[in-house]
Symmetry: C2
Subunit: 441 residues, 2 copies
């Protein structure tokens, strides 16, 4: 029974808790037991306080049925760069050890107002930047990374410790862990969900991300956060026969590992067999510059973001952060502005390209989760994610494939900005087909 | 003596405190006396705690001379939508009355690390939005507004209560109060100073602003915050003979009041007499759309920013905020994206136009500070400011002129993005000439 409770999706939990069939306290106890059983292996949590969780759960149980919110009792893991009023926010930085500013990020305040149970803080790399990983391990093979920087959020959802978790993405920090942990994740259109109350790295790129184990759950959250398309898609399921998919290898395809190369062809074959039209899309040459532009933006926006921390405690910063704070690469303002302006010019271009297809499909990762190697505990390569982040398009990781070593690999579905609902509708049909890839949580 | 201390500029204070000629405690006492004398008239402060100020001052005095920061002992007023670790942040919202997240915004953390004395929290409109003003009055005529939303910051600097204050600007919230209070203010290039730790309204527009009574002070702060041009301007003063100014009436010129129309001609005459070339610049027709685009961006970005507050306490929100939180105007995502993309396209265009001149000159306000009328306490018209904010250009209010009723009116100097240093150098020369306009603090 307790095991079953851990496997519930967000939509299933809500059905039970709102109607009173399941007490939030009992649900919370099941999740706590799961965490206690698994934490020594997975290390998903930077802050986990069963007493506080149970206290919050009992308060939710005391809310009369007619006043229960649309996410009543749903346990949410919150990446530890996102402020929470009742828990510390430590940013995986020695500067902020045990720091507790008693503030809810807008996304947390909204979730709380919807009745969610803020369950704990999940591990991140320092300030959601840096190459050095936190203690988190991949639940499907603890010798491998869970990805990063939203390491704990991806692992906790993939390991049935919570059904919903918040991440952030500046490069590939939401989508990469989703692929490595074999779960769904949505990086919505930039700022569609407010980023207020997240540690800032790059104002142009930082985006709140969502982890779940079901597409229905993402649909529910999108609706609650007003992520509604101007013209919502039809409510009947998408018929793949007649759908048209643009497969985008991108300019970083040379980084693809054998597992990715293999599933890329399989994915196309599965969709074709299901009646869809599939074509490879070659993006205009200018898109090849997005990697450098993304880096210039991150470095110059990090230059202002990390100034305070650098002045206060230079000796406590990871060298990767310091590099930004002192503009070590001597990026010029001209280079920064060129990057900002040229990328802005490409956003409507890629929207238009994406709108020619049911959706675009592109790699989420270069391959399976790499092995953890001390002392860096590198969280993997974000090359395939950067461009979509800086272009502000919604990206959805759909799991489904198994790599050579039995680890999960997903593919990213991408739509034009503010077309989350259409993308999620497409994902239902695509996920069914991708299930032939043999990955199952 | 105490009066004299209140009149010191940032650069003057630093010279005295760093060398030990002036104890920070004595300086703080003089400012506290000034506030206590004036606060019943001006109402600049949302939080003012002399015990805390003196305690901080004494700690600064205990810092050995060789460890004193570049802003040692400089008293800073902080707009009450910016988080401060040691003071409440109340946002002029009943929701956040006495709220005290123990967190420093990045700009505050940086100032504190530089040795600044965080002096108190200055009044703002609710969440730095809304038409309804806080209790603040104009120090030069308490029957008039000090402007908004950075009402207290503009008033406190204009009234010699602090030499430096932080504001924010989403429409005209920094520049307008500067003009009404007769002080300098810089709205730097967007995100050049990190906006982390400010209540968010519009991520595309919100910008940290700075108030001082001297250009030297702004130059110092810019340098300390890495606001350094790619090619810094010559260190010798600008010679106006040979300088070329583009006077931009903008598409909202019909809002100009008689006082503005008069000084507009005077400003041109003064500069011409000083040997400068002056011409009126007519912006391309498309710039006329910036007002509507700015509004669409604010409404849709406010739609995500205010979701949490709206869900938590709808009954405690000002109707102006609620309007955003529910997207009352039914702005579409298409309209939002058009605004974002078209404005992004215009940024390099206006940079190029601005780079043809020593700088652009444009109105800061429609006229003198309007009379305060209960219950709205309207803080004045921001029409002339919006476009520069959303275009991300640095804007500097230079006071100098007196309106028909003896109240101050400034003009805005505008340069291309990330050319703060060149703009400030120009301001020195322009301010000398504008002094003929007879406004003197």
């Amino acid at each position: 029974m307790a095991q079953d409770l851990c496997k519930l999706s967000v939509t299933e939990v809500v059905k039970l808790t709102r109607s009173g069939k399941l007490k939030v306290e009992d649900y919370a106890k099941a999740l706590i037991a799961r965490v206690e059983e698994r934490d020594a292996t997975v290390h998903a949590w930077a802050y986990f306080n069963p007493t506080l969780i149970l206290d919050s759960a009992r308060k939710l149980d005391a809310v009369p049925a007619e006043k229960r919110g649309p996410l009543h009792g749903v346990a949410v893991g919150v990446k530890d760069v996102i402020y929470t009023k009742d828990m510390p926010t430590q940013q995986y930085s020695p500067i902020y050890k045990d720091d507790h500013p008693e503030l809810d990020a807008t996304v947390v305040l909204a979730l709380r107002s919807m009745g969610a149970l803020i369950f704990g803080k999940t591990h991140t790399t320092e300030f959601a930047t840096c190459q050095k990983g936190p203690p988190t391990c991949n639940p499907h093979d603890p010798t491998r990374t869970a990805g990063g920087s939203s390491s704990g959020s991806g692992a906790a959802v993939g390991d049935f410790q919570v059904p919903l978790a918040l991440g952030t993405q500046t490069g590939g920090s939401t989508i990469r862990p989703a692929s490595y942990n074999g779960v769904y994740a949505l990086k919505p259109t930039w700022n569609a969900i407010s980023r207020e109350g997240l540690k800032m790295y790059s104002i142009t790129c930082d985006t709140v991300g969502l982890y779940t184990r079901s597409i229905d759950d993402l649909e529910l959250i999108c609706e609650l956060f007003n992520l509604v398309d101007d013209t919502p898609p039809p409510s009947v399921p998408l018929n793949l026969s007649g759908a048209r998919f643009g497969f985008v290898k991108t300019h970083v395809w040379p980084k693809a590992e054998p597992s990715l190369i293999k599933l890329w062809e399989e994915a196309k074959a599965y969709l074709t067999q299901a009646g869809a039209v599939v074509e490879e899309v070659e993006l205009p040459e200018v898109f090849g510059k997005l990697g450098v532009w993304h880096r210039n933006i991150l470095h110059m926006e990090g230059f202002s973001s990390f100034l305070g921390d650098y002045l206060q405690s230079p000796e406590l910063l990871d060298p990767w952060v310091t590099k930004h704070a002192v503009n070590e690469g001597k990026t010029t303002r001209k280079e920064q502005l060129e990057a900002l302006d040229e990328i802005a010019r490409l956003r409507p271009v890629i929207d238009e390209i994406a709108s020619r297809y049911t959706c675009l499909i592109t790699p989420s990762v270069t391959g399976e989760a790499p092995f953890l190697e001390e002392p860096l505990r590198f969280t993997g390569d974000a090359s395939f994610n950067l461009m979509w982040t800086v272009l502000h398009l919604p990206v959805l990781n759909v799991p489904g494939f198994k790599g050579r070593n039995g680890m999960p690999i997903g593919l990213s579905l991408v739509g034009p900005r503010y077309h989350e609902q259409a993308l999620l509708r497409t994902a239902h049909a695509v996920a069914e087909v991708f299930a032939q890839g043999r990955w199952k949580l």
